[in-house]
Symmetry: C5
Amino acid sequence: MHVGRSYRLLDFAVWSRRGALYVLIVSLVAVAAYSLPPLAGFGIPWPIVAVLGTSVALVAGFKNGQVLQRSSDALQAFAQIAAISRLLATLSCDFLEKDVARRVILRHLAWLTALRYSLRRPMPWETVSQGVNRAFRRRYYQIQEDLTTLPQALTPLLGTAADAIAARPQPALALLHLQGEEINGLLKQGAVPTQVYSELMKLLRDCHDQQARCDRIKNTPYPRQYAAVSAIFVVIFATLLPFGVVPTFATMGGADGVLGTVILWLSVPFSVLIGWMYFALDLVGESTSNPFEGNANDVPISQISRDLEIELRSRLSDTELPPALPPVHGIAT
Amino acid sequence: MHVGRSYRLLDFAVWSRRGALYVLIVSLVAVAAYSLPPLAGFGIPWPIVAVLGTSVALVAGFKNGQVLQRSSDALQAFAQIAAISRLLATLSCDFLEKDVARRVILRHLAWLTALRYSLRRPMPWETVSQGVNRAFRRRYYQIQEDLTTLPQALTPLLGTAADAIAARPQPALALLHLQGEEINGLLKQGAVPTQVYSELMKLLRDCHDQQARCDRIKNTPYPRQYAAVSAIFVVIFATLLPFGVVPTFATMGGADGVLGTVILWLSVPFSVLIGWMYFALDLVGESTSNPFEGNANDVPISQISRDLEIELRSRLSDTELPPALPPVHGIAT
Amino acid sequence: MHVGRSYRLLDFAVWSRRGALYVLIVSLVAVAAYSLPPLAGFGIPWPIVAVLGTSVALVAGFKNGQVLQRSSDALQAFAQIAAISRLLATLSCDFLEKDVARRVILRHLAWLTALRYSLRRPMPWETVSQGVNRAFRRRYYQIQEDLTTLPQALTPLLGTAADAIAARPQPALALLHLQGEEINGLLKQGAVPTQVYSELMKLLRDCHDQQARCDRIKNTPYPRQYAAVSAIFVVIFATLLPFGVVPTFATMGGADGVLGTVILWLSVPFSVLIGWMYFALDLVGESTSNPFEGNANDVPISQISRDLEIELRSRLSDTELPPALPPVHGIAT
Amino acid sequence: MHVGRSYRLLDFAVWSRRGALYVLIVSLVAVAAYSLPPLAGFGIPWPIVAVLGTSVALVAGFKNGQVLQRSSDALQAFAQIAAISRLLATLSCDFLEKDVARRVILRHLAWLTALRYSLRRPMPWETVSQGVNRAFRRRYYQIQEDLTTLPQALTPLLGTAADAIAARPQPALALLHLQGEEINGLLKQGAVPTQVYSELMKLLRDCHDQQARCDRIKNTPYPRQYAAVSAIFVVIFATLLPFGVVPTFATMGGADGVLGTVILWLSVPFSVLIGWMYFALDLVGESTSNPFEGNANDVPISQISRDLEIELRSRLSDTELPPALPPVHGIAT
Amino acid sequence: MHVGRSYRLLDFAVWSRRGALYVLIVSLVAVAAYSLPPLAGFGIPWPIVAVLGTSVALVAGFKNGQVLQRSSDALQAFAQIAAISRLLATLSCDFLEKDVARRVILRHLAWLTALRYSLRRPMPWETVSQGVNRAFRRRYYQIQEDLTTLPQALTPLLGTAADAIAARPQPALALLHLQGEEINGLLKQGAVPTQVYSELMKLLRDCHDQQARCDRIKNTPYPRQYAAVSAIFVVIFATLLPFGVVPTFATMGGADGVLGTVILWLSVPFSVLIGWMYFALDLVGESTSNPFEGNANDVPISQISRDLEIELRSRLSDTELPPALPPVHGIAT
């Protein structure tokens, strides 16, 4: 997630250059078609193109709103996880024996770690592996989950059990089940008051709920048919745009002369500018739709998890805390 | 649900070809009307058609947003069911006797199975039986619930009771009632601590809530009057469109000559392209509005249920697990 | 609620004919004003009318979205009532003595019946008593609550107490209070475990919540000031529309001759078509805004209640069950 | 809240006349500027004004949607309060001694009364004190809270304690605190089963939640910066509108002659009509944004509270019930 | 938060003057380009600019709606905190020993104080440090959190422990953990009935939830990519606008003469007016997107917290209460 003041216009332009290039090529074709025989004078009436412009903005605008909800949903899940984690630490430290409390809290952190790795795995519809995104990432930031493997990350938390857990089909769920067993065991042994058992069960239930919520967002893309329609609208609009702009400019410039030529050629950068705007509108939505893919617009789950780890371990009086993960080049991961 | 990178443009075009064909025919009529006596020169002023374009995009855009909420709602219900199922497994394995736990968990899976079959039954307003959808389905994927019957699917879970349950008017509800009886019985016999009874009742309540939510979405269509207005807007717009495009192009092309004829005929593919866009916009909403119909845009309930079955049965230490259901041609069912 | 494939275009057109007729009359006036002295040539510039077109679509589109939320809200309330009813049956049958359980369940059904009658009573702002809606209803379906009176409907459920309850100012609330007394009595007599009392109180609380939700929707209209603004926009647009269309067509048709006359007169059906579209857009919202009025677009509360009655009575092993209420002419009530 | 069939067009027009008057004056200026030297022929090109029209409708439309949420939120709070009140009556009557139950229920009604008075107090941003709203109110309805003072209203409920409570900075909160003390006292004295204490605490918590919700809506306006932008858009549009309409009409009317003059002057009522529409669109939102101000579009809190008072007092077997508050001239307060 | 009648137009114009200045400069360039050789007659066809106008309004309108949700979310969090605080006071005063109750309540106020200071710290993307906002703030109001430091503010509540707490990395969380320990201790010592422990835990959980919610809003900006796209749209539109307006006015004014020159120059203020509108639309959203930054559009957390402090301390019978924080120049902080 970009947490700086704003994207720099240059970065933004470089990142979204593909659309601009496309319109540039179409524009040159449009100027050629307009200027050269046999089609000299060819163009598409602007009023027709105009209707598409509004429709494209509408469709892309709706899409961006819907996509933002996915992103907010993901962010809320991790905010809720933070609240759960703190309550769990409070209850564990106050009611459980010291080594049990330590085990429960470290297992909770292990769950968060496994969840995090699972959410960062690539999915077919994600855009992070596209050239522009990979380039941007290479230049500006790196994802924590790419630097170590899950077993490595789990070892400090689970000790020798780490490899076995990491080898399970769904390590996060396996850890939640172990957590459940431990909590249930506390009730069976009468080791905690019944009210505290209820509180712990609420936390476990909440962990399951938040995991199901994150999995839902991770496992299902923004409907591909909606994304397709939005992309098709933008491409068609951007293709027709120069054919509409060129004759409109030409008419304005008058029949001929230097001014006429200047204005005719001015239609090229002008088309590129407008076409790029609409491409960028769509692209921005597309790159927000997968909040866990490792993108610059992601929910910063590595950072949130690290902060929670520092918080919870310092409650256990651990002194060797991992360092915080500050944003790099304004991007929190 | 399509879980690939994107719909292929060709598939998309083939799937939505009906609208394009319709506009093609209207376009030819419009060219004829414009070119031939007695109506030579006939057309509809473009500015009038333009107003409709924006309105159509608005109405269809609103519709698509509303329809997406139905789909998200359905997806959330199944995410919630996943969370419930895991908690139920944890509680059952830890507090119930081994055979009771097995019975409870298998009955839960049976409930999920019965719910799944019930959600896949056809409803009058669903579009899955339309030609284009049937063709798409035949080519690319099949629905699990079409391959076996409910009694067959229930037998491995319920044994001999399967047929009797499947014959009930609402098998899923019958199973939830049995589940309720079992849980209540545990309290009456003092077989579980009261806190655990409360937790189990919360899960039962949640099962009822999610079933009521799914049934609500399944049993009530997106308001037909809204769908009708959206469809009527698109059809009227697409009908008037060519009559607006033809004279606009013709005027641009100038009086006559080769260029004039080329441009006149260019209005045909052009009208088809624009008309198709708006048809596609509406069609995409229509085919998202019934998230359980067995469509390529459905919530993948077969897959989610199968994953849960594998998960829960492996907790019961079953070794003969059913295979997972990977997406076929990028479509998860 | 219409649960067929779609509204038939003819039914839809007949139902919404008033707007079309209005535009027809205005169109004839516009043609006359344009053609005849002393105002020959009079018209309203189309670009001005065009601006209104987009605004009308926006305003009506927003309204339809807001109105749909009322309808969804109502539907959710009844889905929740279904979930409550089933849990109540489970708890009653398992924990209460047989005759108490029977009394509680029948009283619950009586509550649902009283609620249903209350939700069907006419309100000043409802549109169901308008001519077109009454005609549509006479032809296609009837409302269960019009066929019998509340005392008649309550008698099979409450016996001799039915008349007294039906005479209370708010029969549904009176029944919920009786239900509350019974449940509280169970706790006071120690007839149920305390956990079960808590579960029963949750259900009672939920009944009160859902009733308050339904009453809120029933007792407060979609803000009349919003409905007024939307209606005024549509009427003004539809009034100006023909005066904008006629000169635009006339200009296109050229000065005179047969084609000129044909095109001039073509502006009439054309105006009617467009005007009707926008009237229909507004009308569709208006007729969705009161989900309990007995409209063809209502939440089918009679059907949902009947289904629940059949379900719950068969749990009581009653054999003389009332028949289900299938949709008539595609309309579920 | 207007609960009649619809606003009468005349009332609506009178109420929103200010905008129309403004456009009338601007129109006359525009006709003068166009007709008279030295600026003869002056106007603003309509296409430029047209762009503003759509933007204004969008901005005002978004605003109206956001404002409606405030209103719905307020309505939901009072629906929830109705549900709480009924449950409180049930629990009190069944578990508390008769005089305690009476005290608790009357104090609850006193809380509702104090809340009501607090919600009706004027705030700087509210529009109810504007001329048009005051005039409308004088003619059509009156607010219950203006007729008596809070101490007078509390006396029948609290007896001699009324004045002391009314003198507290926040009487409603003071009453909730007393209610809390009473409920806690019941637990301390063992006067109610612990389950019932939990139920009563849930109700108290809900009272606090609903009060905080109402206070939030009352104490914070719809963001003034949003209201300002919307108002500025409308005023600028309405100011430019006539300068765009006059030349457009004039061009259409042709150079001169009687028809030319007629059409030129026709642009005045026409501008007024359109300008008024957009003013009304904004005004309607503005007058919906404060749901507790005593406006004709308010949530009818006096009526809801009175209905609850009648309901609860009749449960206490009181016979001298206050009369219901029927809508006056279709306006429920 | 502005809680006056409305922003004064002058303040609003001064505050948003940057956009107007930008358009002014571009306008002068456009007039020069149009009037002077070698480009005399240069302009951009208005219909092309018109399409952008609608798109800009759409994109900025969507943004403003999304940003408002952040703001409402923040407001709801503080409303919920108010409800929690009052319940906590009720429970503490009734069930805890006097000095324990005092300690719990003061610690709660300390938590609120620490939260408040944390929410006021500057973030890179916040706009409060921009020139115009700083100027507005200097003239009209000041932020409570700028006047004292956290240790100073905590001392009256925590005594000597204040400095140690304030030095912790997250003072608010440290205080919640202490609160949790105290509540857990009460259960362990059997100092409160178990029901009361459950109620207190619900409040603690709610404190954690609301803190996580506030932190989420504070720590994550409105997606920078969305803000960037919206800003780019506005800047491009505002840049092209004058080049579209100038020739359109010039054409209308006719070839030359005094009127022609007047109208040509009139296009400058006109462009500035329209360009400013759209800049203001975007700016208003931008300055609403960070509800805790100390802006004039903020959630008034200082005021809400102070009111709660007065309320809770007067329940503890403290007599030296801090003064309320009335709005200054109509701005509540």
